[in-house]
Point group: C3
Chain length 358, copies 3
């Protein structure tokens, strides 16, 4: 019945939420539609980042701090595709190079440059790399091609969470909380019998794969579109891509044809961007390959996002974050349940990434 | 004329307000009437404490943090007398033992327990012991039997104070401030002549006993009930029980019969429960052995609590707490007046308790 | 063309804004008209300072903390020219000496004194010395005699700024920002050609002197009062007196008679009083030697103060202060432009003062 550890009980301290943020990584800086020719400033990994598009539509990410007197660049203005500091008029191109100094001798100091961040636009998302630009490999981004495929319909959303991002990473990797925290708002129901549970670990990915063979898939996921009275193979999988990009997959197929994509499928994409050690920007999309034009389904998934992702998961994450300092002071050690198997592996991988990141 | 030091002038730094909170001690967690079958969470000595009553009416105090993923237990629910975490469904009995794990293999991790606190219900107060349970001796609680005696009528109250609790302990031990801070709201007046002043120190108690023989007791205390034109013995005593339970006693008796309990008596009970190093829950009761059914007297003592205890004493405590950091930076040394005699002794006792507490 | 360094490019860390505040120095505590017989409390260099006037009109500055139990003195009352603590009644004269203890044995503890600060009233300003009283030399105060001269008319103002005071000192020493930050609200225009630029450094003063010979002075400074079509010598000077008193001088004179005082002159006086490391009280006056009775000019300079000093300069200072911690974390190094020449010299002088201050 799979390769999942049966005994994971190890007491440990609260390190996951104190681990330094991972800089050599991709994060969702913004949805594509959020950024236009006007400046958007967003705090990412404790850095004020300025986002805008050039006249050709290319999006740019620069540190929002002028290297002369530290004035916020977003209080300046645009001149063509360049950006001019509102304090003393230093002008920078969209690579961050200073191209004009209107002061005194007009010489441009060598060190006068704005830090620019690798920014990649793909599948309607602006992906930012916050570490060493030489290591920014686009292949490390989670596949979100379903956001732009005509075979899928996606309902997008997002909100701000006052907690360390790992509290939601662990939450998403753990299916066990759904029956309790999401009792009213979703969850798979408690009458499913697991046929196979498998965890597949890559270099910086993890798949948690659950299969329920020859069963009645839960109505909570597919609503009226799940065929009644027909027995099907149902899978509930989660893909994690380091450090905080996740995609769930709920699917059903004719019995014996698990995960062949022939039946109903639902992707939940979760992009968690740390703002600080104790806050994050949470971007998500719910994508389906059926009933593409049914606005009631759109609304149902919007409600799910509002209730399950925002009110339930994020509220519990914020409540926990608020007592993290207490639990350190009190020496509270956390216990581990079988539902934490994937979270533990992911934490070990992130420990190594954080070590390499220094 | 007593045993009170005549010269206490010693400059000292601000240590009383920086001394670590005393853990091996009893505190008022709540009035009995505040706690029912619903959860009440209150922060005590920097710990989130969950209070509720079982179906048999017994009150329970548990740490409000699930040992699995640190979710607040008060966001969960009750199942009979047990409490179920709302995040993953771990169930605990009211001793804090985990009795059910609905996840995966359903094994209960050995370390899965909620810290439970000794809680004693007596005289309408829920007393919590925040230290080593083995050392919780009920004999260390201040006597509040007057709260439940038919010979006494008590007006209870309480409020939240943003200051270190020692600022109010010292305030209550020092009668000298009444003439100034409480000029409009009480105080004993300035025409009393002290006959005897005695400080009696126990292992972890202190009594500050003042006697005014053959005098006219102040009308501010007993109002119209003090007999006019009759000379009586009047006492103004304070009992302190470590670390922060106090009871004042103002009484009058026929001359030569001081403290025999035959005349009018007024108890002021003050229970100070640190929330953090710089905030506290302040519970108090004003109890009298006369005019038990006079609602005007009730209202007069309520007004005294609101004006003298809340607006005056607590406001000055908060103002002082707000400059403690300044005074440290500036190296301000405090001077001592004779009115601080009891406060100094109490601080020395608490220094020893804090040392033993580590 | 003067003695200003042509190449100042040196990368440096953010030290000016982290340098300890200078204690052995004069600051504007208040305008004279702000202080009367009632208490005024103002936080200066991280100290709560109490200001009031005696019955003879003399202004007094005392630390607003009672040396007994640390109660704020401003919550007490006045008895004649003395001040009585509202908590226990200790009475202090206006030199800070304790003159009465109403408690117990009534002995006055030797250490019972309020710290008093040298306070000098001159030109409508109350100047406070926050360091060693023996070193308080009135000659170190910036000349503000124009505030009280009948030849000048002054429009005064002030506001609170949430930034380190050096962000405004540097701002005032740097004329280069005017063309950009104050494009709408002032600035000298960009058609002036500098004839001479000279920096004169004294022991704890600096003069930044700019002369534009035989030119048309900018209308932004003198409005309709600048003669049209007449060529004049125009100067734009700044005087800095350590640590944070500044006076700008814009003047025009017949060609060949630069700075002889015969023409229109405008003084901008800027008195920056640190409240904390990251906030200040900003007092300013705009003084002119012409059109003394023209209320439109008053209003024009009030508007300039509101727009240029408050909304523009102070807003940018606050924005920069808000990212100082970020720039430290990110190791952002500041680059230097020629407009920073005076600021760099002033910072070097203040570094030495801070060193001597310890």
């Amino acid at each position: 019945m799979g390769n999942v550890d049966s005994n994971l009980e190890t007491a440990r301290l609260l390190r996951p939420y104190e681990r330094p943020l991972i800089r050599n990584a991709w994060y969702c800086a913004a949805w594509s539609h959020e950024v236009g020719e006007d400046f958007l400033t967003r705090r990412i990994l404790d850095m004020p980042v300025l986002l805008y598009r050039t006249s050709s539509g290319e999006a740019v990410a620069l540190l929002d701090i002028c290297p002369h007197k530290l004035a916020p660049m977003h209080q300046g203005s645009r001149v063509g595709d360049n950006i001019v500091c509102g304090y003393h008029g230093l002008e920078f191109d969209c690579s961050g190079a200073c191209v004009s100094n209107p002061q005194g001798n007009r010489e441009i100091p060598q060190a006068a440059r704005l830090r620019s961040f690798p920014l990649l636009e793909k599948w309607g998302v602006l992906w930012i790399w916050t570490g060493d630009p030489a290591r920014a490999d686009p292949a490390k981004i989670i596949d979100c091609s379903h956001f732009e495929s005509p075979q899928w319909r996606t309902v997008k959303g997002g909100h701000y969470v006052r907690s360390n991002y790992m509290l939601l990473v662990e939450n998403l990797l753990d299916l066990g909380h759904a029956l309790f925290l999401h009792k009213q708002t979703g969850g798979l129901g408690d009458n499913l019998v697991l046929s196979d549970h498998r965890i597949e670990q890559g270099e910086d990915t993890l798949r948690d794969l659950r299969l329920y063979r020859d069963t009645q898939p839960p109505a909570t996921v597919f609503g009226k579109y799940v065929p009644r009275g027909v027995r099907l193979d149902f899978n509930a999988d989660m893909l994690w891509v380091a450090p905080s990009m996740l995609r769930s997959h709920n699917g059903c197929s004719e019995s014996g044809h698990a995960r062949d994509g022939s039946g109903l499928s639902l992707y939940g994409t979760h992009l968690l961007t740390p703002e600080t050690q104790h806050s994050m920007h949470y971007f998500y999309g719910t994508s389906r390959n059926y009933a593409l034009d049914d606005p009631e389904i759109d609304e149902a998934y919007r409600r799910f996002q509002r209730d399950a992702l925002h009110k339930e998961d994020s509220m519990v994450a914020e409540s926990i974050d608020a007592v993290l300092a207490d639990t350190m002071d009190l020496g509270v050690r956390m216990v581990t349940l079988s539902t934490d198997a994937s979270g533990i592996r992911v934490n070990r991988m992130l420990d190594r990434m954080a070590e390499a990141d220094r």
